[in-house]
């Protein structure tokens, strides 16, 4: 596996870069739909970072069984990020519903245009 061969710090840098790419996507993409996707990229980076932190102690799944315990992954960040994934997904769904509604009157979904027409 390629990913395993990379040192932790390189992986962390890649994940933080993903977060930054998402962040800049939110700013520089014109289309509202693309902005939402950029936000998803950002949250993917965050999730990956949690998984990486969970893996700092090992890779094995922590399941109680007869097998003697090895170096297992920290289950706490994984459990926490599972919550965050669910929340992120529901927020994304809500945003897409909002965008669907806006698309009726602004078919191009350009955020500048929407902003101009809907701010007093």
């Amino acid at each position: 596996m390629f990913a395993l061969a990379l040192p932790m710090s390189v992986l962390a840098a890649l994940m933080l870069a993903t977060i930054l790419f998402g962040f800049f996507g939110i700013i520089f993409k014109q289309n509202l739909m693309m902005k939402i996707i950029a936000m998803d990229v950002m949250s993917t980076g965050v999730i990956a970072y949690y998984v990486l932190v969970a893996a700092r102690t090992g890779w094995a799944t922590p399941i109680v069984s007869g097998v003697p315990p090895g170096a297992y992954a920290d289950p706490v960040p994984q459990a926490v990020i599972l919550t965050a994934i669910v929340i992120g997904f529901s927020i994304q769904a809500l945003m897409l519903v909002g965008v669907m509604k806006l698309a009726r009157d602004n078919p191009t979904l350009e955020s500048r245009e929407i902003e101009k027409s809907s701010t007093p």
Binding site: L16, I19, F23, I26, I27, L32, K35, M39, M42, S43, V46, Y49, Y50, V53, R56, V76, P77, V80, T83, A84, I87, G88, S90, I91, L94, M95, G98, V99, K101, L102, D105, S111, I114, E115, S117, S118, T119, P120
Partner: protein, 527 residues
């Protein structure tokens, strides 16, 4: 019965561990609003009754806790688990939350708001309560995200294009900030193996910067709060009252709690709160739109809450009550434009509510705003005290705009108003709204303004000659400055900073600033 099993699994090791019945009560109190919120979907007619019931329940819980020995802490499951803590600070925030919900429900009582509206109100209330007693970053994250979703749905409730855009913008900004927050949280966990607030000390500096970015954006502090004027001004008046009264406080509370737990955090908050107070006051003095003025004044008042963590609870209570009352009253003004309002006399009833709210925020004696301001200023010294006093004068200037609006004394019957006004003001866009206020409005005002008077009674020891003179001089100075200079001043500030992309972009600047501030305080190692 997972609640029971949760409570049964409690480790009884902690020295100030709470008694079992308290634990049960707290868990029920947290869970019940969520249950009630979803029940409203099944029994739509119960909506407003359940909402009012939940508000009263929270109020009695808050009062009950106040009579108990505090603080109480509660660790659910394990040291990875949920840490709850209730102290004097939480109690005052809980009072605020329940009073504002009660007022808003009474205000909406005669209106035809659908069950969906009350569902969101109740869920919003419940998750804000959760923020006010939690002491670990993950419970806080979940609660803040639920608040974000519920607030989004409430702002979007009218379903006009503008409402949807404003709410989408709100959710976008808050969710992006919370993603940064999550990165900070995992850094705290990596350093300590726990999510408790106290872990800020010793965690990498980046963690503090990232977590604070999230919380500052949620609370609407300094330039991270520039999303707030448009959102508060365009939402429905009852929703604005909730947003400004309590939703903003959900971001403030964890900041204050962190400052009380970790001493090194307080100086960071001090400089941020001075920044936000002066920024908000400058905006508020120059603003000519009634609802935007209230919104930007929230940016400055948040600074007053944060600047002295020891007085934060009382200040937040006073500000939340007064601001909610003002937002509800401003929703009934015949026009939003303060310049137009100067040529359009108000009814004495509406004016008196505006005046009481404005006086409390300016720190006038007999209302709790006085005690809050006196208590806050007492905690400060040196240049911070000078800056806050200047800001207090600025607040008095901004709210003088409401106080000195013309009032139609004597002619009480509202029928004459619509007839006279179109003659004097033929070009008004809105035909002079009927001055008839709904009964729900008065019920809400009894709760909020009554709360302001009652809260004033909590700290009677602050009524010293020294503080009274100071407050009166500040207010008189503000009014004088308003009459001489600012009444005639009309400067429109550019709104380019409030554009969506700038709101997101500003986060990177705030992050750099916070990082720099955190390094100064030696909070922990740099990654």
């Amino acid at each position: 019965m997972s609640l029971l099993s949760l409570a049964a699994n409690l480790p009884a090791a902690s020295p100030d561990a709470a008694p079992q019945e308290w634990v049960m009560l707290t868990l029920v109190w947290i869970a019940l609003p969520l249950l009630a919120g979803f029940s409203v979907a099944l029994w739509p007619r119960l909506g407003r009754y359940l909402a009012l019931f939940i508000a009263l329940l929270s109020l009695s819980y808050g009062v009950g806790q106040w009579l108990q020995p505090l603080p109480q802490t509660l660790q659910l499951l394990d040291n990875f688990g949920v840490l709850l803590q209730i102290d004097d600070l939480s109690v005052q925030f809980i009072w605020l939350n329940s009073l504002v919900l009660a007022a808003v429900v009474i205000y909406c009582w005669p209106s035809s708001k659908r069950a969906f509206f009350y569902t969101q109100m109740i869920i919003l209330h419940g998750s804000i309560n959760a923020v006010f007693i939690c002491a670990d970053f993950i419970s806080l994250y979940v609660a803040l995200e639920v608040i974000g979703i519920a607030a989004f749905l409430l702002i979007a409730y009218p379903r006009s294009n503008r409402a949807i855009w404003v709410s989408l913008r709100y959710l976008f900004v808050s969710n992006t900030a919370m993603l940064f927050y999550l990165v900070g949280v995992i850094l705290v966990y990596q350093a300590h193996g726990s999510f408790a607030f106290s872990g800020l000390l010793g965690a990498p500096v980046e963690a503090t910067a990232l977590i604070f970015l999230g919380l500052l954006t949620k609370a609407g502090v300094f330039i991270s709060g520039l999303w707030l004027p448009l959102t508060y001004a365009e939402a429905d008046p009852p929703v604005s009252a909730m947003l400004s009264g309590v939703v903003g406080k959900a971001g403030v509370f964890p900041l204050v709690r962190c400052a009380l737990m970790v001493e090194e955090v307080a100086p960071i908050l001090l400089s941020l709160s001075l920044g936000t107070v002066l920024l908000g006051v400058t905006y508020a003095i120059l603003e000519q739109d009634a609802r935007r003025l209230l919104a930007v004044s929230s940016i400055s008042q948040v600074g007053f809450v944060l600047v002295a963590p020891a007085a934060a609870g009382f200040y937040a209570l006073s500000h939340g009550l007064a601001k909610a009352a003002l937002f509800l009253a401003a929703g009934n003004l015949p026009s939003r434009d303060l310049v137009k309002l100067r040529s359009q006399p108000l009814s004495p009833q509406l004016w008196s509510v505006l005046a009481l709210g404005s006086l409390s925020i300016s720190g006038f004696p007999l209302l709790s705003g006085f005690g809050a301001k006196a208590m806050t200023l007492k905690q400060l010294s040196g240049w911070a005290e000078i800056a806050m006093t200047v800001a207090a004068v600025g607040t008095a200037i901004a709210f003088a705009k409401f106080l000195f609006l013309p009032v139609q004394w004597g002619r009480a019957d509202p029928q004459t108003q619509p007839q006279t006004q179109p003659q004097t003001q033929p070009q008004t866009e809105t035909p002079a709204a009927p001055a008839q206020l709904q009964p729900g409005f008065w019920g809400a005002m009894v709760v909020l303004i009554g709360g302001l008077f009652a809260a004033n009674g909590l700290h009677l020891e602050l009524y010293t000659v020294n503080d009274l003179t100071k407050a009166l001089v500040i207010i008189a100075g503000g009014w004088l400055a308003y009459g001489l200079v600012f009444r005639h001043l009309q400067v429109a500030l550019p709104r380019v900073v409030e554009e969506f992309e700038n709101l997101i972009g500003v986060m990177s600047l705030v992050l750099v600033g916070l990082f720099w501030l955190a390094i100064q305080q030696n909070l922990g190692p740099v990654l």
